[in-house]
């Protein structure tokens, strides 16, 4: 079994105290416990502080464009569905710039695990509001305070019948580790929204703010009850639930494509006889 040290990457360039550090450490532990070696999986990320994540690890990496994490992850997964594909994005990255892709990745139910480092702010571009910023939050860009309503990724995902919907907290690593392991192991599209304090630009949603509000979903909670899941997903403000809010066993996209039944696309070799047959059709 690998040890967390085996996933050591470049030294992180995040701000001291950033919630990303504990996510990184927890992720390494989870992958080691899942016994998935660095070369056996791939991380696709976008652009933002969160999306620098794979550089601070050792693993196959496609660090693409802002917002475009999920299409790349989908392409990789369709080409090689033997490889676990993990997508890492920021809240701006995934819920703003790439919002359309999230909707359709959920619909496809491609077996990709998405971790959104949700600091409720644009970190890398220095403090503009994100889709999950709370209404009224004042920034240099929004002197009137945020006028738009706050996006609720959990409710959105449940509404779309997303196969696995969970929320974690960077300040609760023991719980987060289990979530990561569950999410990576789940067959189908998984969304894990991780509350991640931004110590530099978000002075509202601090460690303290989250700690006062988060609670673990009780053991008797049934994540397969979609209506109850929707009700819980709406909880925000005084109490914020952590854990697996919703899950189902919807058919996975890769399983429904006959071409992928035998082996991954990448394992197919070039087949000249197929060309001859294709030519004959034109006579």
């Amino acid at each position: 079994m690998p040890s967390p040290e085996d996933y050591k990457g470049q030294p992180p360039a995040w701000c001291p105290g950033c919630g990303n550090f504990s996510i990184l450490k927890t992720f390494k532990e989870a992958m080691a416990e899942l016994n998935i070696m660095p070369h056996e999986f791939v991380i696709v990320s976008g652009i933002g502080q969160a999306s620098k994540f794979p550089h601070y690890l050792k693993c196959n990496t496609f660090n693409g464009l802002h917002g475009r994490t999920l299409p790349v992850a989908t392409g990789i997964r369709l080409a090689d569905h033997a490889m676990p594909v993990i997508a890492v994005a920021g809240d701006g990255d995934c819920y703003g710039e790439g919002g359309n892709h999230l909707i359709h990745a959920i619909r496809r139910n491609i077996d990709v695990t998405l971790f959104v480092h949700d600091n409720q702010v644009y970190g890398l571009t220095k403090g503009q509001p994100s889709p999950t910023s709370m209404e009224g939050m004042k920034t240099k860009n929004q002197p009137l305070g945020v006028l738009s309503g706050q996006l609720d990724p959990m409710a959105l995902a449940v509404a779309l019948d997303c196969s696995f919907v969970a929320r974690g907290f960077a300040g609760d690593t023991a719980h987060l580790k289990d979530l990561i392991k569950e999410a990576v192991s789940h067959r189908g599209f998984s969304l894990v929204d991780i509350l991640q304090p931004c110590v530099t630009f978000n002075k509202i949603n601090t460690y303290q703010w989250y700690k006062e509000r988060v609670y673990h979903l009780e053991p008797a909670y049934n994540p397969r009850d979609r209506v109850e899941a929707f009700r819980r997903s709406l909880e925000w403000g005084e109490r914020i639930p952590l854990g697996i809010i919703y899950r189902n066993d919807r058919p996975v996209m890769e399983d429904r494509i006959p071409v992928l039944a035998e082996r991954p696309l990448v394992r197919r070799s070039f087949e000249p006889p197929a060309v001859e047959a294709a030519l004959k059709e034109f006579y």
Binding site: Q10, H55, L70
Partner: protein
């Protein structure tokens, strides 16, 4: 023998079915065929036509004169009657058009009544019309019957024989009633291959080992996706309709990164959305094929019509400086081989290769003896399996003499494959180091570019050895320019230059096309756009300025008579 058949009517009336079936009959019989489709951006109504030219020698362009007009609506007659040749005939069904025409070049054939009587259903009126055209031309029915069997065989013997009877009824009616018909066709031997530009690109992708295609429907590129999707299961290809073109290009890049040959396709508006993805492909050095089928812009423009106005867009779009390849085939045959070339170059140099066509080429059917898969190449450039495993270490963007770093399949070895849209070091990790930046840019651009340029074929020359008049063009104008040269070569010393490898601009090393141009008395650049983008490119790349330009930007292709007239006008008094 050189006949033109036009089928005109409303969208939804089955013009395409009649047109495609006739084209297949002619090709199977062994004739040379060229078709062009003129349609509106609507599903029902309006006026569309399907044009077919057939001959016993190669035909590669639209002629204005029509010999047989199949009119499925009155509009068809109003629009096309004046195009009729001296021996031309119009066939129509007066009960369907609710009007009878008494002039001698009209033949009223009761398509619907014959369909009901002989086929048992009015649906077969188009089959009657198809049979009638063959009757008028004096052709037999057996090849049509074979095609009916191929098409309807799965639906059962009853439907097959109903259609055969309907076709026979139309054929017999035409033979018995067309006293004025003076058509005759020589006997030729077939079959010939019949293929449109879009299908040729799809077939080229298959012949190049394409495994993944993602796209978003947009005329006139959709045909490529349809071709591949229809055969994906048999050929072992995954075709995914993305939520938008941004997703389409990023999916293709993901698949390519994972180790398979991947392609996307679109038209101008969708390509605009893919632009950021082209830049991503460049930075991550991920091989990518893009088929860009042009239609007239700006914006939604004329969605179903043709233009060559995205050459500069294809060549220069996307932020940053990086190499790319642009190919502009002139025929379906070139489209097939250049698609293969595009795949090979994209994989070899880890760049984007664009196949630039337009509605005219995408939808036009041409005949050929055959395409030869033996003339295509498939070279495995990826680092895989044991070769990858046996390496002591691996850096995805390692500096090399050629600028090309080994492109490994992630997961095949214990080494990790890392790439980044940020500037990166040899390992693929984000960096802001100035020296690394300069070395990376040199590697990606300056080292690869001359190698890619060497691969670009010079233009094709056709015509008089030492021409006084040279017409030059690129892409889909190949066929009409070639026939124009044939038409005019009796009157003047004329030749043509056709460019299908556009970017990097081909050098004069293999063929000194610049001297040819300079030695001519007049050079004319022919383009289906308003501003002469290729002429501008020629000046920028070589300093050579064409003496004259012929531009057409009404959304329609050049016709043979039209182009000849314009060349005549430009060269008058020479």
């Amino acid at each position: 023998m050189d006949y033109s058949v036009k089928i005109g009517g409303e969208a939804g009336q089955g013009i395409q079915t009649i047109g495609n079936t006739l084209a297949r009959v002619f090709a199977r019989s062994g004739f040379d065929v060229f078709t062009h489709q003129d349609y509106e951006s609507r599903i029902r109504g309006g006026h569309n036509f399907f044009y077919i030219r057939l001959s016993d020698k190669p035909v590669t362009a639209v002629r204005e004169a029509v010999d047989i007009l199949v009119a499925l609506d009155r509009e068809g007659i109003a629009l096309h009657e004046r195009e009729l040749s001296a021996q031309g005939m119009i066939i129509y069904d007066s009960s369907a058009l609710k009007q009878a025409y008494e002039k001698p070049h009209f033949l009223d054939i009761p398509f619907t009544a014959l369909a009901v009587e002989h086929g048992g259903s009015r649906i077969m009126a188009n089959t009657v019309a198809t049979g009638a055209v063959l009757g008028i031309l004096g052709m037999g029915r057996d090849i049509l019957e074979g095609i009916i069997r191929d098409t309807f065989g799965k639906k059962g013997e009853e439907i097959v024989s109903a259609n055969i009877n309907a076709a026979a009824a139309g054929h017999d009616y035409a033979v018995r009633h067309c006293r004025r018909c003076a058509f005759s066709v020589p006997s030729v031997s077939g079959p010939k291959m019949l293929i449109a530009g879009n299908d040729a690109i799809g077939l080229g992708a298959v012949a190049s080992g394409c495994r993944f295609y993602s796209g978003y429907p947009m005329t006139p590129s959709t045909g490529i996706m349809l071709y591949l999707a229809g055969r994906a299961n048999d050929l072992g290809i995954v075709v995914e309709q993305a939520e938008d073109e941004i997703s389409a290009v990023n999916m293709a890049l993901g698949a390519s990164f994972a180790g398979v040959r991947a392609m996307t396709g679109t038209s101008g508006g969708g390509f605009a959305l893919m632009v950021e993805g082209l830049s991503l492909a460049a930075m991550t050095e991920t091989p990518l094929i893009v088929a860009l089928a042009q239609r007239p812009g700006p914006a939604t423009g004329l969605p179903t019509r043709t233009e060559q106005a995205d050459l500069e867009f294809a060549m220069y779009t996307a932020h940053g400086e990086f190499p790319r390849a642009v190919f502009a085939p002139g025929t379906p045959e070139q489209a097939f081989y250049l698609t293969n070339r595009a795949f090979d170059i994209a994989e070899k140099y880890q760049i984007t290769a664009i196949i630039l066509t337009d509605q005219y080429l995408a939808d036009s059917l041409w005949t050929f003896e055959s395409f030869d898969p033996a003339k295509t190449v498939y070279t495995e450039y990826r680092l895989k399996g044991d070769a990858f495993k046996s390496l002591p270490g691996y850096r995805r963007h390692a500096f090399t003499d050629s600028g090309v770093s080994p492109l490994a399949v992630p997961g095949d070895a214990e080494h990790v494959v890392v790439t980044d849209s940020d500037e990166h070091d040899e390992e693929g990790h984000i960096t802001e180091d100035a020296e690394t930046r300069v070395k990376m840019l040199r590697k990606r651009l300056f080292k690869k570019l001359p190698l890619i340029r060497q691969e670009m074929e010079p233009p094709i020359f056709y015509g008089d050895d030492n021409p006084r008049v040279v017409i030059a063009g690129w892409g889909s104008t190949y066929g009409v320019m070639k026939e124009a040269v044939d038409l005019l070569s009796g009157d003047m010393s004329i030749g043509m230059l056709h460019f299908s490898a556009i970017c990097p601009f081909p050098s004069t090393g293999k063929f000194d096309y610049l001297s040819l141009l300079k030695n001519a008395e007049i050079s004319i650049c022919v383009e289906n756009n308003a501003t002469g983008q290729f002429a501008r490119l020629m000046r920028a790349e070589t300093g050579y300025e064409f003496r004259a330009r012929i531009n057409k930007y009404d959304g329609r292709p050049f016709t043979l008579e039209g182009l000849k007239g314009e060349i005549d006008a430009v060269t008058r008094g020479l």
